[in-house]
Point group: C2
Chain length 227, copies 2
DNA sequence: GGTTTTAAATGAATGTCGTTCATTTACTAG
DNA sequence: CTAGTAAATGAACGACATTCATTTAAAACC
């Protein structure tokens, strides 16, 4: 904070230089937090540049002095959200259990941010140091379990894909599989549906548990991927 | 076509009643196909109501006599797209192989329509008879393999979640995992990345193959889900 | 065959967005 | 004190989805 500023390298923490008598100067952190609060209270439909600006008592165009686009703002949100994923489990648990614990927090974190998923799936990780650290911990977990190098990234991406898809499912309506007017024409599926419903568990949760056990078991269980 | 129309029940196939000297009357099928062609040639960014209207030589507002919203139009596209998934494999192949063949076509079909995935994941199937038929065939495949009723739907949804996530991955840039300025700080992940890259296979494809084998193997392989 | 009904098209208009830009403001540096 | 500059303003723009009053022409009715 109170470090002498070298002439050649400008401050990373910009000093107060407002264009108006304003309580606080806009800032990446402020904007990101305001956006996140907006999303948390009103969902992604309420995430508009005007909305963020209003919540900061600022004009919409003021935001563009700090953020390039709404897309970039969503990347900021994504970074904060991804920070909620617990990847310390790989340091303490055996690989299979760590993967399952990690996947659970990962899905839970994403479930509330479904609109971010298509973004995250496609976003270069270079911009998100936290995410890279997460991958490092996961990769270290695989390596520690004796996995061959070349198999690690595909395994991680595979589980992640399952997590992304499962997080999308969480927001689906509970009666998504109601056959409606086609009832009766699809007996096998309908009886399967009825049986699953009898369990009382939302099908998204049941599917996540089932699938997670299967994919982790299928990856870690069979032993021919070690070197 | 030339069936006498009963007074009480209006025609399901609307006769030509245009408001202008027009070569063809608008129609759900026409609009859906025009929209699909637009998407195929220009991607989802080019899917606008004006664009669809223009490709039909019609004013944008004319579309709203036939479709309620852009959202509904996208549901029409989704139905056509989902029709490209081959679920006949369940009638000829053993469950595990059928699941893998089905998943491959399913992912390939979705890969070109990533923006539809969040929609499909949440859309009630009652509006899509084709999709329901697909589920029927898949469920029949599980039943034929001796699966207990209550386990079938979770298993289907689990694989589907993996497919959705994998289809999202397909559109990711090849260098999505480039650590950028953080190179060197994440040694385990970087060496895993290098090893995977050496294989020459895009990581999305490697992950899909790896994950599909794992999840199908994990589901079908262990025998305690049969009754 | 003329009249009425009606589905379907028009185009002007609306409201909501994200984003740009010329201009102004007030803090900082010299 | 002066010049420079980061940061804010608000007006404006261009997309876009959607609505609505009005018009058109085919079909139904007699």
């Amino acid at each position: 904070m109170n470090v002498k500023q070298e002439p050649g390298s400008p401050a990373r923490e910009p000093r107060r230089r407002a264009g108006r008598p304003r309580s606080v100067v806009l800032d990446r952190e402020l904007i990101a937090q305001a956006a996140l609060k907006l999303v948390t209270t009103g969902g992604y439909a309420s995430l508009t540049m005007s909305g963020v600006a209003k919540s900061l008592s600022v004009s919409p165009s003021a935001l563009y002095n700090h953020v390039e686009s709404k897309q970039e703002l969503m990347q900021w949100i994504q970074e904060i959200v991804m920070d909620g994923v617990d990847s310390t489990v790989f340091e303490t648990l055996p690989l299979a259990e760590a993967l399952m614990a990690w996947a659970v927090t990962y899905r839970d974190v994403l479930a509330g941010h479904a609109p971010l998923i298509p973004l995250i799936a496609v976003l270069p990780v270079s911009g998100s140091p936290h995410t890279l650290e997460m991958y490092e911990k996961v990769a270290a977990g695989f390596a520690r379990a004796g996995w061959e190098s070349a198999q690690i990234v595909p395994a991680i991406v595979a589980i992640e894909s399952f997590i992304f898809g499962s997080a999308l499912d969480v927001t689906a309506p509970l009666d998504i599989f109601d056959p409606g007017p086609n009832a009766g024409k699809i007996p096998k599926f309908e009886s399967a549906l009825a049986a699953q419903r009898a369990s009382g568990q939302p099908s998204a949760d049941a599917a996540f548990n089932t699938g997670l056990r299967a994919i982790v078991g299928g990856l870690v269980g069979s032993g021919d991927r070690r070197h």
